[in-house]
Symmetry: C2
Subunit: 564 residues, 2 copies
């Protein structure tokens, strides 16, 4: 690191304590975060407060974000906020034949800096992003359609947590092997054989991050920081509807890299022309050796099958199930489920889709409830939660794109509607498409209904699936996870045998299970440093955020040995 104002030592002194806390957190998996969740926590020590963050966001609208990248052959843009605002921002479009070689130029110096310096440079990037959390919150809100508070938290501190978690795993993985070793093998009466060995983590090449529409930062940061921290250059290809949050991220990363004396081209943006499909072109370039992707199963499968030169990490689609067998807290269960179905209009890869409920009803602390009662009580809970339009807007956000709206509208035709979706007006953003969730009754024994509940219906659509028994529910859960994958599974039961069986299904089919949630933690939310996001072991995703496997193959270790 060559800048006068800065030494590697200073940066390590500044960030090493945070890195150490992160390393401890992934080991204990207790609660920890260095990134405040409350908007009012920002505005001190260099961070932007609410007004300054809003002003920074407003100032970027209708501008060109010129990142100073080599190989820019034009400017592209066209994002329209789900809240109805045209962002008017344009971004560099890459000439890959120029940009990719330029991204490799700085890689040897980045590699030679070593794992610790790379980690603290990544932490400095995260720190500067954290300081701009209010600005990022608006950028995430106006690309994903999340309501402001969710965009603030999930797009800000929670995304930064996931990035930091990836840095911690990447660092830990690289230092498992020492930098040097002295090796001395006894040879009986003769002198021992002795060797001096060095071990250097080396990057695979250039990593490609393919961002998603709904969680551009939260789903993007793990791959971005895992690749960068392991020595790779990273090309960021955002979803065309959600470029801004990742363009701002790339800008900060390039600033920090240059400031720390490294080549800013280690991180670059690849925005695309409408309908260009640049991800396919980039993903199969020989320079691209790592891919991180969040999005549709179809394109995730395409990447896995075609980008054979790369390590491909995919988070695709699953069908998430909640098994409702019995509960000791009926009201808590209903409130918890209602919130999970409503948050961000169900546009989370972790939102429950299928609620499996015995057709003969369930036992509760309020006495037995029939299938119909459970479904209508849940519908009433959702209605109650979203009855006030201000609260509804704050929870639901906006429908992210026309496809989700079309699926929501079609869902009402799939069965008996237990809870109809309604339009909510957003007084601040009249252009926003805001909808409450629909709940549709289906029959788990009817093959026609299976076509619906065994497909992912991304958006505010849930199916109350009547099943004959707990055993049938378990069998359907197993089939769903095995065939369709699941990011989350939930279960409500007071029966220890059913609990054991649902755990066994999840262990055998590799699905993450939340049991009897009735408080302020929801099946569709995970906390970095403690919860795994996905398992990487069922069809919904081939990787988990974040574990050793997520980072271990992003670099290789080169050994050089000499006679001592």
């Amino acid at each position: 690191m060559a800048t006068a104002e800065l030494s590697a030592h200073d940066l390590i002194a500044q960030h090493r304590p945070t890195l150490d806390e992160a390393l401890e957190a992934i080991r204990t998996r207790a609660y920890w975060s260095p990134h405040p969740e409350h908007p009012k926590a920002y505005g001190e020590s260099g961070s932007l407060d609410a007004a300054a963050g809003k002003a920074a966001f407003d100032a970027v609208l209708n501008t060109r974000i010129d990142l100073g990248q080599p190989g820019t052959d034009g400017w592209v843009g066209g994002e329209v906020s789900p809240y109805g605002v045209e962002l008017g921002v344009t971004y560099p479009h890459p000439d890959a034949d120029v940009l990719l070689p330029a991204m490799k130029a700085g890689q040897a110096a980045w590699r030679d800096a070593g794992a610790e310096v790379r980690a603290v440079v990544c932490l400095e990037i995260l720190k500067r992003i954290s300081d701009r959390t209010h600005e990022f919150a608006h950028a995430v809100m106006h690309t994903s359609g999340q309501a402001f508070m969710m965009a603030f938290q999930a797009g800000g501190p929670h995304a930064q947590d996931r990035g930091l978690e990836a840095v911690a795993y990447a660092y830990a993985e690289q230092v498992r092997t020492p930098a040097t070793a002295e090796w001395s093998k006894p040879q009986g009466k003769r002198d021992p054989l002795t060797m001096t060995k060095t071990f250097t983590p080396v990057p695979r090449g250039i990593a490609l991050l393919i961002g998603c529409n709904t969680f551009p930062t939260w789903n993007g940061y793990p791959g971005l920081f895992a690749s960068l921290a392991t020595g790779n250059a990273v090309l960021v290809k955002p979803h065309p509807r959600a470029v801004l949050p990742l363009a701002l991220t790339v800008r900060v990363a390039r600033e920090v890299l240059a400031w720390a004396g490294f080549d800013p081209n280690l991180v670059a943006l690849a925005a695309e022309r409408p309908g260009e499909g640049i991800a396919k072109t980039l993903a199969t370039r020989p320079e691209i050796r790592i891919i991180d992707y969040t999005g549709s199963t179809a394109f995730g499968d395409w990447l896995e099958n075609n980008a054979r030169q790369a390590q491909v990490h995919t988070e695709k689609a699953g069908v998430n199930t909640v098994l409702v067998e019995s509960t000791a807290n009926y009201k808590g269960m209903l409130a918890n489920l209602a919130f999970s179905l409503s948050l961000y209009s169900g546009q989370m890869c972790t939102t429950p889709q299928n609620l499996l409920i015995p057709r003969d009803g369930i036992r509760t602390d309020e006495g037995p409830k029939t299938y119909d009662e459970v479904v209508s009580d849940l519908a009433r809970s959702v209605d109650g939660l979203l009855g006030d339009d201000t609260r509804a807007n704050a929870l639901l956000g906006a429908i992210v794109n026309p496809d989700v709206k079309a699926r929501l509208e079609a869902a009402a035709g799939l069965g008996e509607v237990a809870l109809a979706s309604r339009e909510v007006t957003n007084p601040e953003f009249p252009g926003a498409v805001v909808r409450t969730p629909v709940i549709v009754k289906l029959d788990g024994t009817k093959p026609d209904d299976g076509a619906a509940y065994l497909s992912e219906c991304f958006g505010p659509v849930s199916f109350a699936v009547a099943v004959d028994s707990a055993a049938d529910a378990l069998a359907l859960l197993r089939r769903t996870v095995r065939e369709k994958g699941a990011m989350t599974v939930g279960a409500y039961t007071t029966d220890s045998e059913v609990e054991r069986e649902v755990e066994e299904v999840c262990l055998e089919e590799s699905a993450q299970l939340s049991l009897n949630l009735t408080g302020g933690v929801y099946v569709n939310q995970t906390a970095a440093f403690s919860d795994f996001h996905g398992s990487g072991g069922n069809p919904a995703a081939n990787a988990a955020l974040t574990d050793g496997a997520f980072v271990a193959n992003r670099f290789r270790v080169v050994e050089v040995r000499r006679d001592a």
Copy 2:
């Protein structure tokens, strides 16, 4: 573990110290091994001495190895030792539709046993194999064609080391996440959110080990033990010419599993009929979720492209280079290279193939040497090393199969022969095909010669490639590793700038480098716990033995969380 004589506690008490030493060794990468290399070290505390081991091997010849596996639909065999002896052993041929489901039956109990119990059961398997090292040595010798001492060491203690190393990595990886965690998130003035979480390593499914002809145990044990220690059942598909060492391994594993109270079907053998190609059928079965393979590039590529339901680890072929630029120990260099070219008739994936030598000669401690002098001095060193037939037999072993013999014979036609191969008679085994290595001169600037030196020519064939300069040698090294892959790279230079440049090529192309070896360590040998075998970052292999990446994706972690 249900047997009366044994508790998990006992097994842990017995093996935990060894596991801890292995964990320390992979962290420091200093020399360590619990498995004696000297044949005379065996015969005490239950291990077989030389005579008992030979007797055990003789007793198994011309028998049926009935492993008691379900789904056996016939008996197959037909191994003929490269030393000319028909082994006459037959093995179970599997009906996969019966065997694979049977292998899954015991998986839940094996999973529930936990990482530590699985590790110590694996160590017990390795201990019992170690006790039979003399028996295994004959089995490896008479399938691979290795000379006895090499079969003893590489097929015995060194293979057991690699197996134990894999167990250590697997254990370490699984316990990075705690079994349980208490999570408490502050909520300002409200009560904290609290959750109880459990984390369970779960297997992917059934692992398939596809063994090779030349190092059935050494190349087989890492995958076998990594998969078993992470909770998977393992189906062992040996090379049809090298079944016996892995059949004996499977027998010991099944004995130990049953003795420890687990289902012996967690490890099973799949021998094949002549020409059956059962590996293709098994590799694409949905139950097979992990594959470990050592062998040809063609089939390795086929597995990577077709066994898409599995994590595929391949060690394929590479073209290994030694760059000879200058040396401060000319005699030591020649002796070291001569040994590397001769050991096991060059039938190691790590044996150097291309020796890049400047056509203007090299600087040495004995004054300048022309290209021709270096090549003829090396030829003389090989001749001297192998001049005595007894020593030649002890070093060369036998040519493993007719393909290698054919390649050796064809190599003499590729260029000017600097050292001709000669036949060596093996008085003990007159049927053995024993040949000394050939060295052929090629020109690094002639495209026709490139067809030879840029293809792997597995066997006792080396090319002395004349290059115009050190820079040209570095460029050819880079091209060779990038396009063809390399398991090893060697270099001799006294020039610090050339040394730096060859290191840079190896760091950029992900190749393992041995520098200026002139003593008793050879470029084609690696030591478990300290050296990585391959890098997993160039076309020769997509995995290294053994690192975190080799084990991390063999299992997934399933989390179950509940309100606390």
